[in-house]
């Protein structure tokens, strides 16, 4: 047993001079890291229980708390790092896969940070979004350019089903079950107010949220949880989840203790059962099977809803995307490997898949080479961190982006990567009623609306700087990007010139 003892990664530092022993920290910490010692009338802390979520730090009225990374160290080594050593100790002790949450913390290249954005000087005026119209509205769906006219010569304006977004950002799939009801309602309310969409994730749609349907994408994943005709018809679009950037090639698992009450009813599975999504859809073993599911869903919804196919960014992404574009799907969502998750095996999350920037650039180029870019819209996700990332993604070729981690952060998440433990002190990734109630859906909505409003304004400012006054003129406009510190091969894949060229 002592072999498995791992010194805590974080230490809770209490400023005893400031601490008033109000016991707020004790009350706020669902991990029971804080305790009151009656003998000394002082607060004590158990560092090993701390997940570094900052709830106590934020709630301490005396600002008496901080969390620091432990200076405790193994003999330093570049190869056998702390994580490499402790992972072995953990697995030697448990015999299991290591579980974790949210996006990979590993030091992989972030290509967004190596792409610089253009601005106008002299030959072309920049445009001030406060003085001139600046348009960010987008339509997602198939766009075919053959014009049909009726006998009187009028253009037939019927289109394949589309989603309309006031700004090119959607909240990505996060299921009810992995998220709390209040988190889901915050996303739904915000999407409605912003004129965008949120995504139900794979756990079905709570009956009280059906009236947000026009701003909801309903997801059909391999577990088919909560899928019935009313659900399919409830949303603005249907997403078939083939994969997720954080865990390509594997399914999902919502532990039995979370499958209670409304979660069980919404998922249409018995209380207290493990909700396991298989790795593949067992009716999709090939591309022609995907086509059948796409058309099954279209039939079920009278061809009125666009179908999104979400795939994880993997090595052969452009060929897969080409197949998806020919499957009848209206939109493809590509999820890069830095994307988040409510629970995933650490080894998968940290090692499988490719970055969204390269996947997006390669898919957009491939679909254009094949002349079928208009057959499908592209949503890019998997670590979009700010408005500049949105601008870069659209300039590389995306029609819109998915954000999830950013949305959670807006609602109060502090990225402690412990969602899988189910004791989210911020009321987001938990089903414990006393924790869920900490997130007020109105406050969650307000903060989400603020975030997207701020990003949209920044996007408009950057567009204006480039002399672009409508988002469609930015889409695929790779001349607006320059690489910095990239190899020629990376530049070629991204389809951009180097800074200075």
């Amino acid at each position: 047993m002592p072999k498995d003892y791992i010194y805590p990664e974080f230490e809770i530092v209490r400023n005893e001079g400031r601490c008033t022993v109000c016991r707020r920290c004790e009350e706020q910490c669902a991990n029971r890291a804080h305790a009151f010692d009656a003998a000394t009338s002082r607060m004590t802390a158990e560092d090993a229980r701390c997940v570094d979520c900052h709830r106590c730090v934020a709630m301490c009225p005396a600002h008496a708390l901080k969390i620091v990374q432990s200076s405790h160290t193994f003999r330093p080594g570049a190869n056998w790092t702390r994580d490499a050593i402790t992972d072995i100790h953990r697995q030697a002790g448990s015999g299991g896969a290591l579980l974790t949450s949210m996006g990979t913390p590993k030091d992989y290249p972030v290509y967004w940070d190596k792409l610089l954005i253009n601005a106008s000087q002299v030959t072309n005026p920049s445009i001030d979004p406060l003085r001139e119209p600046m348009e960010t509205k987008v339509f997602l769906g198939q766009k075919h350019t053959h014009i049909q006219r009726d006998e009187s010569g009028r253009i037939c304006t019927e289109l394949h089903p589309q989603i309309t977004l006031a700004t090119p950002i959607l909240f990505s799939a996060m299921s009810y079950g992995s998220l709390s009801y209040n988190a889901h309602e915050s996303l739904a309310r915000a999407a409605q107010e912003l004129g965008i969409c949120y995504n139900s994730g794979e756990g079905g749609l709570h009956e009280d949220l059906y009236h947000y349907g026009p701003n909801t994408i309903v997801q059909v994943a391999s577990g088919r949880f909560g899928v019935h005709p009313g659900y399919l018809k409830a949303g603005a679009a249907i997403e078939i989840k083939m994969g997720q950037g954080a865990k390509p090639g594997i399914g999902g698992h919502l532990p039995a203790e979370k499958v209670m009450g409304d979660v069980s009813r919404t998922r249409m599975i018995p209380q207290g059962t493990e909700a396991i999504s298989p790795a593949p859809h067992h009716d999709i073993y090939s591309i022609e099977d995907l086509r059948q599911l796409v058309y099954t869903l279209k039939e079920a919804t009278d061809y009125k809803k666009p179908i999104i196919v979400k795939i994880a960014a993997v090595h052969n992404i452009s060929a897969i995307a080409s197949g998806v574009a020919r499957s009848g799907a209206d939109i493809i969502a590509i999820d890069g490997f830095r994307g988040g998750t409510g629970a995933a095996p650490a080894r998968i999350r940290d090692n499988v898949g490719i970055p969204i920037e390269l996947a997006l650039a390669s898919v957009d180029a491939r679909l254009r080479e094949e002349g079928i870019r208009g057959s499908i819209s592209i949503i890019a996700g998997g670590s979009i961190r700010n408005s500049a990332d949105v601008v870069r993604a659209i300039a590389l070729g995306a029609d819109a982006v998915y954000i999830a981690t950013g949305a959670l952060l807006a609602m109060g998440c502090h990225l402690c990567r412990s969602c899988h433990l189910g004791r989210c002190n911020w009321g987001i990734a938990t089903q414990l009623p006393e924790l869920v109630s900490r997130l007020d859906p109105e406050e969650g909505k307000r903060r989400l609306v603020n975030l997207i409003t701020a990003w949209t304004y920044e996007i408009k400012e950057m567009m204006g700087g480039m002399g672009i006054n409508s988002i469609e003129a930015l889409k695929g406009n790779r001349l607006m990007l320059r690489g910095i510190g990239l190899t020629q091969k990376e530049l070629d894949i991204l389809g951009v010139l180097h800074a200075g060229e």
Partner: protein
Amino acid sequence: MSIEGQVRIPSGCAITSVFSKSGENISGRLVVDSIATMHERSNGLGGGFAGYGIYPQYKDLYAFHIFYDTLAARQACEAFIDRHFDVVNLSKIPVRKHPNIIDEPLIWRYFLTPLPTKLKDSQLDESEFTKRCVIRINDSIEGAYVFSSGKNMGVFKAVGYPEDVGDFYRLEDYEGYCWTAHGRYPTNTPGWWGGAHPFALLGYSIVHNGEISSYDANRRFIEMYGYRCNLQTDTEVITYIVDFLHRRRGLTLAEVASVIAAPFWTTIATKPAEEREKLTYLRNTFASLLITGPFSILLGFDGGIMALNDRLKLRSMVVGERGDRVYIASEECAIRVMEPDLEKLWAPRGGEPVIVRLNAGAQGR
């Protein structure tokens, strides 16, 4: 130094035009005098003209104007032309030596028609066949460049100030119902004649003043439909967009204008239902062909001309009228020098197309 096509060169410009709705013959000299008044808007690195109705004797034949860098390029290109077309007439384009126009390439003109067997085998219509041949020559025959390929129209362009270019090509010897002209102010030295404007494809020619910010979005979309933007210029991509929307997709010119200079969504929302649906449909379907950034273009086509500004009107453009004549230019002075006594003078609003056509039955058709 890289030439046009190897590098993207933004440029400012002057444009002017004259059009006779009754199809009267107008000497090329008039538009040379007009563009000369805007000398300060050019910098001697490019000038050019397009005339419509100038080849009535060959009006049913395609007129190719071609620059050759070398004799070998001419031989290779003529071999290609002979395989695909019946050449009715060929000659050097007559020029007059001019001290300011130097380093001229070989400049040849061909009147031709597609070989019927080749055309039939291609399963294309005549215009699409011819367009593909033009793109093929420009894309794959080193040192050969077709810069004019319409019927009963022709483009004349060179590196130099436009008034000198007009003298060089002896434009006073040509007469047509429509002339457009262009003086260029590129921000880099192209030193290549093909990079001068107008840019033309089949009967479409474009002169343009501006620098579009949507360039790469437009280029990457239009290249899906068989076009190759070898010159990397705005004018080239705009010409291809017009060819695609007007000739191949059958949109009217007003509809083309509502794609490339689309009304703002707030404007579309105020329109009657039918109009609103149509504008929304066009803007959505052809979203990647919206052109942003400053532009003022004059699109010459068989039997007409269209003037269009970007939707914010970030470039000057005025229209003057007297009798059957319509004048459109970057500056009023360029119109006044052609017709001092105008009946009407106005500035079209951003995104508002001005479309002028020959009257029914007018000669020149």
